[in-house]
């Protein structure tokens, strides 16, 4: 599976955006969160997790370390809203295509 992720390309990566995913990376690291973006240069993923205190925890998983990506669920409209308004996203960058 290694390298498969890096070779998917933008049209494939963008289909994972706004979905909750589980990423296995390195030997035994596992991260879960809502996918914000994938860097088309390094294939690195950015995941966010909303916490109860209103803050967000952000994970960046390096593309070269990705072993497996698994979709857990789609975002409901409330989650989509929170993702769209998160401070780590540019204001003009909606996902229309």
């Amino acid at each position: 599976m290694q390298d498969a992720w890096s070779h998917l390309g933008p049209l494939q990566w963008i289909r994972f955006v706004n979905k909750q995913i589980k990423v296995t990376a390195g030997k035994d690291e596992e991260r879960r969160g809502w996918l914000v973006t994938v860097d088309p240069v390094s294939a690195s993923l950015v995941l966010v997790d909303f916490r109860e205190d209103g803050k967000m925890s952000v994970d960046m998983v390096m593309g070269h370390a990705v072993e497996e990506v698994q979709v857990l669920q789609e975002a409901d409209s409330e989650t989509l809203d929170r993702l769209q308004n998160s401070l780590i996203l540019p204001k003009t960058c909606s996902l229309d295509a």
């Binding site: 049209l11 973006t37 390096m62």
Partner: protein, 94 residues
């Protein structure tokens, strides 16, 4: 380094869709990197190494992270350069 997919090179419409997707993804990613500036970031690295540092900047090819106040197992290094290839993931609060 990145290249166009074979399909998109043959079909202009497909190429435009791919360019648009790449632009959206890259702009979002660069914005995330900028959002990390001056934040305390945990680096999860190979060989079970975990360190914390204040994020400075990264080069655009994603080869290096420039950080300050890096807490290593043997003390604090004021200014450091971390190789992206040594890193599995990094975490910060936003």
């Amino acid at each position: 380094s990145i290249s166009m997919s074979a399909a998109s090179e043959a079909d202009p419409e497909e190429q435009q869709r791919e360019q648009h997707a790449r632009t959206t993804l890259r702009e979002r990613f660069l914005h995330c990197l900028l959002a990390m500036t001056n934040k305390k970031v945990q680096f999860h690295m190979y060989e079970k190494v975990k360190v914390e540092a204040t994020f400075g900047a990264s080069d655009i090819d994603m080869l290096h992270f420039q950080v300050s106040d890096l807490h290593t197992p043997i003390g604090v290094q004021k200014e450091a350069l971390i190789r992206c290839h040594d890193v599995i993931s990094l975490t910060f609060d936003a």
